[in-house]
Symmetry: C2
Amino acid sequence: MTTNIQQLETDFLNYVKKITAYEEALNLMYWDLRTGAPKKGVEGRSEVIGLLSSEVFKMETSEEMEGYLNQLLDEKNKEHISEIALKTALDCKKSFDRMKKIPIDEYQAYVTLQTKAESVWEEAKEKADFDMFRPYLEELVATNKRFVEYWGYEENKYNTLLDIYEPGMTVDILDNVFRDVRDGIVDLLQKIEKSDRRVDTSFINEHIPKANQEALSIEILKQMGYDFDAGRLDESVHPFQITINQGDARITNKYDEQDFRIAVFGAMHEGGHALYEQNVSKDLAGTPLAGGTSMGIHESQSLFNEIFVGRNKNFWKKNYDLLKKYANDQFDKVPLDDFYYAINEVRPSLIRIEADEVTYPLHIIIRYEIEKGLFNDEIEIKDLPAIWNEKYKEYLGVEPDHDGVGVLQDVHWASGAFGYFPSYALGYIYAAQFKNALLKDLPNFDELLAEGKLEEIKKWFNEKVHQYGKMKKPLEILQEATGEGLNARYLIDYLQEKYRDIYQF
Amino acid sequence: MTTNIQQLETDFLNYVKKITAYEEALNLMYWDLRTGAPKKGVEGRSEVIGLLSSEVFKMETSEEMEGYLNQLLDEKNKEHISEIALKTALDCKKSFDRMKKIPIDEYQAYVTLQTKAESVWEEAKEKADFDMFRPYLEELVATNKRFVEYWGYEENKYNTLLDIYEPGMTVDILDNVFRDVRDGIVDLLQKIEKSDRRVDTSFINEHIPKANQEALSIEILKQMGYDFDAGRLDESVHPFQITINQGDARITNKYDEQDFRIAVFGAMHEGGHALYEQNVSKDLAGTPLAGGTSMGIHESQSLFNEIFVGRNKNFWKKNYDLLKKYANDQFDKVPLDDFYYAINEVRPSLIRIEADEVTYPLHIIIRYEIEKGLFNDEIEIKDLPAIWNEKYKEYLGVEPDHDGVGVLQDVHWASGAFGYFPSYALGYIYAAQFKNALLKDLPNFDELLAEGKLEEIKKWFNEKVHQYGKMKKPLEILQEATGEGLNARYLIDYLQEKYRDIYQF
């Protein structure tokens, strides 16, 4: 009996390994498409991606998979299998249920809709024409509502969507923490507005050649502990991190020769994601557990590096000379303090991805409130532009001239990713909580930054977060690393303290 | 009935398309491994390649495949299917038979042997220790002999191996043309040796930065008509061309900063392969017919560009200034004629891949004679080093100091590729025949080169060779393009005429 179960576990893990092999091939194809695949090969490539993806779908929903899951997750067997096999089975079961509950023709129609909607969105954004995109968005939301009915939900329909990206996250939890974040930031913004301090940023936008920015990015990534023997850095239109396999976590960067901040903070952001992926326990290789546990925890790693390290004055005590080495003479007469103020200027704006670290969460909260309203039938799609603009006016004091810089700015809804946005703000909140816990173990955090000893910080995250992959749920990781649940206080405290100094209120 | 056959044809072509989708993924993974994949990802990658390759093997030898082939190739159905479906089925049938006739355990043992043999060979070459490699080579030859028995053969066992790389090629044909080539070249070498002309190459080996060589390679590739929207150029240890899909024929190059010839002629060689792949008819997409028809015809395209274009004085009339633009001042005082002599210096040497265009075929003929002897039980493995050295002495007048620069220099035998070498010389012979035929349509060939109008030449090959992919057999292509069969005379005439001028005999 035990022998049979062990054989079953081995067969199951081999089956799962085959699925991850396909995913490695698919990820390499995505990476290649976005880093220089020639354009005439794109059409053929898309067909191949479609074909191999459908093979993955078949394996994930096959009778063979169902058989493994039924047996391994049977109460009498569960205790006889390894923890890795059990958690792998639970993860596969979640995907299996999600996919099997949707009628196959509805699923295929949805995939087609997504593709079409993304291309319509691109044009609509360009033309600032919401009405052009509206029927697609209506169909996307309607389909996702039907899917939620198929999948089932507890308390709030939107919870089911949140759970896709952040397992265990609910509207109840988010309403609370997002209220705290919003109140804290609105209060802080008022203080900043009243301040007389004006930040000089005149020296930022000067020309630095791409090659220099790349060399600088590489030096900073090495300092962070990014392992170039287990990854590579390339250029792409939008920076991203992608994991090909456990020894190959790639990142890309974008270079604006008139604004070094894009490359420096982009590298630190994607590098943060990659540190997570590079340091998952090797025991999890070949299973779906060998990656970040949720979008939110993943984002905590990128934001920790980008913001809590990269926008800290001590980091620049170490690295300002390095920047000067690769820049022209634009910084030669700029004292470190002024440089530090400049890279932390607060300025409420319309575009999420260009937001400063204070106003960024407000962009997310607006999207969260709208998504929640849509899935609880409190908001109609036709009213979206007006609601969007009102909320920007209320929270940020700015109003879009047109929908291209308003409700149409992000691709997420066009690709059907409802429930994704909150992870950006969650990552930020998690990161502040981790920072607080880390300070207990490494009270010399600021000195480590000033000395370039970022490896010490990486080691802390390796132990508390990275190694577990998906073996622990997001809130489990948070609880064990910090001793408490989700709490927005640390983020607000961090922002208040930092900006009190910068804006001297 | 007809409807059924048409449905069968569609199903079969979809099945084949799925196989080519896997091959696209595999080719991208190979390309990636050789152009910069991080080393810690290599082990995982190898497993994934093994896994997806075995899926391809399963599909190519499946009962489903057998069913399609039996029905489509049935006499009563053959005439009702399209020519593409028929030739695809014949191509699949050839692979099917080759794989199915070998017992699966022998096949697997052979794959393991190949991998092991390649790594032993690498060390043996390094240490110049033939005895270390000998047992593996014995096993490789013995296994291939057994395979030939399984596959069957006509007249000569070696014919079956030749047919893998050059369909339709036989020992009878090769014995004749290779004798002509050998006699012609040996005669030519004697004349060159007697000549008083000494070629000055002192200005060749000066430093040219890699970036300059790359820019120069790109300009030359564009002139050749290589479509950068349907391919890309990267760097690798050994240059190669690989086709990802019909709109994506990639090439790599190698840069020696002390010898620009490596990059320039390497780019033209790989570019020639790529021109073939980029210009196969789009009707063949998704079938195994969408590629070069044989190793020999493929090599004719690379060698035509590298040698018949790249080492022609008229090509340099157009491009010598371009080279000077990217070089330092090393050529400023060198007249074009002297430059032309230098890049065509003849010097018998030990290493095949470093050979000049006159002696190159002799390196191939030596290998051909040895392979033929091995598979006809006329040569024993233990005698190989002695036989090798004797032949080099006899044909080229040089003798290896050790086996590392002798019998161990090539990887081909270690990877079991017996029958492959002749395609290098065949490609050269084909290329000379194509040149002769092309001159009838484009008598102004030299002027086109001098004016940089290489597109005209490309168009000729598009029409006569490229478009057909594997729809025509190598000797069919040759016959239709040149009006005759394999004939070594054109190569010998070309060499005699060219070197009579250079060495003034």
